[in-house]
Amino acid sequence: MRRALRWLLAVCVVAATTSVALAADLRPLVQSLGTGGYAGTEKGLAQLSEAGDPAAVPVIEALQAGDLYVRKADGVVVIARKAGSDYALTDPLGGASLGEAPAGAIEKIKVNNALRRAISASLGALTLMSPDAGIRRSAADAVFKSRDATALDALNTALAKEQDSSVRRAMEQARAAITLTAGASDEDTRVAVATLAGRSDQDALALLSSVASSSSASETAKAAAASAIASVQLKLTLWGVAQNLWYGLSLGSVLLLAAIGLAVTFGVMGVINMAHGEMVMIGAYTTFMVQELFRAHAPGLFDLSILVALPAAFLVSGGVGILIERSVIRWLYGRPLETLLATWGLSLALQQAVRSIFGPSNREVGAPSWMSGAFELGGLTITYGRLWIVVFAFAVFAALLVALKRTWFGLSIRAVTQNRPMANAMGIRTAKVDALTFGLGSGIAGLAGVALSQIDNVSPNLGQGYIIDSFMVVVFGGVGNLWGTLVGALTLGTLNKFLEPYAGAVLGKILVLIFIILFIQRRPRGLFALKGRAVEA
């Protein structure tokens, strides 16, 4: 939006002197966008971008954003933007206000995929001279993608004036892509191959391969392409390994988040907590509720909703956990198996409760803008959402570690779980510590729910998908050892991701399970076994 306005302003200034005559020429072309359905719009768009007039840019941008409408009364094409309950109409050429109209009086010019592609290509060609380097760069990328030979002249003109080196490189690559696609002299081909060799990605590889296998290219060009392909492939392979490591880390941190609450309730307290997954689910639903509140009352602050959801989910899940502990679990200490039975029953009831309250279908949890999209790091694609989840998982782990090792509360927890009567004798109120510990584990599960709501379904079945993996992680790492849970989660995640490309997703998972079974044969107490007499009990 802001970008559009700025560009609009620039266009106005540049075109101020000549605009009257040009706008008159564009008018019938703009008008033709509104007739003849998708095909008509596409034809109009083609003519509009052929005219090469920057004044057309705001029109095309409005079309892309879905703001271009036809006024039903007279068939005039207008830009309409929501203003209160009505729409404010403006002239697409020049931006003069045309008053307001109700929704029923105007009809949107529909856009499909083919049109979207055409829009990107023509905007690319038309915005190569934009004063904003960022826009010029994305314009060059758009041309690279479309490989539209008609943009070549505009590209050359833009290159002649370009000062910014990174934009320059993007433009040269775009030109190289056009050259290779359209076919060119031997000299040009070789220059293009050299340019593209610097861009070590799949797109470059595809273009280079087309040279290497083409019949028209000379032997020297082919040889240059072949050596470029070899170097690109090597880089891609190395980046591929790094990418897999990242995926492994990311999957591992999801497993860590899911399992870390269980490491407290099961690992530390010995409760076989089958309702752990439901605590995660409750956290996810809390996120949904918080977001609903934001949507209703403060849509402008939506990006902060996740930050508010974190403490809310911790408190809600933790509260439910304390309730469960006080009403059910506390009668069952020392009888781990019965906790399995009771928590299984609770998990069924909680799922059904959520289903009755929120309905069985998925709920929409939106991603704040700082968790959407991805960035490139060398040859790595890292999505912001996953990055934050990795950071968050480690932060939660560290916080829990500090809480258990460095606070009085943590000390009491360790005392009670290690020797209950002794702790009691020392004046620790064990019942209270039990309740708070279970609440802590459940609250952490709730935090995991906030994170998982960003990547998975928010449905009553959410928890079921993670409960088995969580138990595997805790047991693999060694019950009662937080470091074990950390290492276990990361090992299993990475292993899974390295197996997946070779064995496929299903077989990969089966192999990981077999690995766990065999590993437990070697180390019957998990990776980080607790030692000492208490273990045998």
Partner: protein, 380 residues
């Protein structure tokens, strides 16, 4: 010798269980096939199949109780043995369809035909013979249990670690059987059976026959299990459950005892699965789901762990409740079922069979710890 073995473990409770089973084996066929349909004593075929299903689950629960209640091995993967037995039977029934499948292919099951398999995979060979399938019903779960137990018990994997790797085992099998490339029909599983041992599988006579077979299998397994428990072997098993290391120090090779009980239990579960499949008409990988195994544990706990009759009672009761509530309270039945589990744990720690004992124990003073009951202990 054998008769002594069987009779040794039989006490009065066993007498009652066997009497009830015998009554079922006689009364059900009579009231289904002979009593006219409008009489209040008539049992519909639907009910017979339902009862048959419950008893298959009861057999699974009995098998599980043998290892968990008496040997202290909490298996969260017993449904895997059940399902493997079921698949062995299902493969036989698939082969029996012959050219009556929708494509009319005399050898290949329908799901192979439309996924363009050209010949039967080697592991399907032999299943056209009933004796071979029957052997596999015992051999496949037995072999898996033996191999799994051999490694796990020798490595002294115990307690929750053992439980979780049994869970990993059934989960891995679930994923494997879901794969269509495995040649077991993927998610659709095996279904649309036509006949068993030459009899139409949907005919009332066949269904009653299958029911009676289930009752007989359950009774036999009950006798075997109580025979073992009453024997010296049983005493060692109970000792292993209560303190394994002490038994080991006394010179017993506990691994062998555990392995025996474990493998036998898996075979029983396999038989249960094999009887289950023709009665419900489908076998599908979801039987391997970890939740199914956990449910089986819950049946045992509801009925009373460490009492064979309790396992049977729990399985029948919980499944009856499930059938009833899913029809009567379709929207709320999970609350009812979940509430039942919580209530049983809180108020009936020894299960339903323990309830009577608990009430009795309050009145007279004398209280002894019978050898069949697990002591209140930390282990699982």
């Amino acid at each position: 010798m054998l008769t002594r073995f069987f009779l040794m473990g039989l006490d009065r409770k066993a007498g009652v269980v066997l009497t009830i089973l015998a009554l079922l084996a006689v009364l059900v066929p009579v009231s289904t096939l002979l009593v006219p349909a409008d009489s209040p004593f008539h049992l519909s075929i639907f009910t017979v199949s339902l009862l048959g299903k419950y008893l298959c689950f009861a057999l699974l629960a009995l098998a599980l109780d043998l290892v968990w209640g008496y040997c202290g091995i909490l298996s969260l993967g017993h449904a895997a043995f059940f399902a493997l037995g079921g698949y062995a039977m299902g493969m036989h029934l698939m082969r029996q369809i012959g050219p009556r499948g929708v494509y009319g292919n005399p050898v290949l099951p329908d799901f192979m035909v439309f996924l363009n398999w050209t010949e039967l995979p080697w592991y399907w060979l032999g299943f056209d013979h009933f004796w071979f399938a029957a052997l596999m019903v015992l051999a496949v779960p037995g072999a898996l249990a033996f191999a799994f137990g051999w490694f796990a018990f020798r490595s002294r994997v115990t307690g929750v670690y053992l439980s979780i790797i049994t869970q990993a085992m059934t989960f891995a099998l679930l994923l494997a059987f879901f794969r269509n490339d495995m040649g077991f029909g993927g998610n659709n599983g095996l279904t649309d059976f036509k006949e068993i041992l030459g009899a139409d599988i949907q005919a009332p006579g066949t269904r009653v026959g299958l029911f009676v077979a289930t009752v007989v299998a359950l009774a036999l397994s009950y006798m075997i299990a109580s025979g073992i428990i009453g024997s010296k072997l049983g005493k060692v098993l109970v000792a292993v459950r209560d303190t394994e290391s002490r038994v080991r120090f006394l010179g017993y090779n506990t691994e062998h005892y555990k392995l025996f009980a474990w493998t036998l239990s898996a075979c029983m579960a396999g038989v249960a699965g094999a009887l289950y499949v023709p009665q419900v008409g489908i076998i599908n990988p979801s039987e391997f789901a970890p939740a199914s195994s956990i449910e089986a544990v819950i049946w045992v706990a509801v009925g009373g762990r460490g009492t064979l009759a309790g396992a049977i009672l729990g399985a029948v009761l919980v499944n009856f409740g499930k059938s009833y509530f899913t029809g009567a309270l379709p929207e709320l039945w999970l609350f009812a079922l979940g509430g039942l589990f919580v209530a049983v744990t809180l108020f009936l720690p020894k299960g339903l069979l323990g309830l009577g004992a608990q009430l009795m124990a309050r009145m007279p003073k004398s209280k002894s710890l019978p050898n069949g009951k697990p002591a209140d202990q930390k282990g699982m």
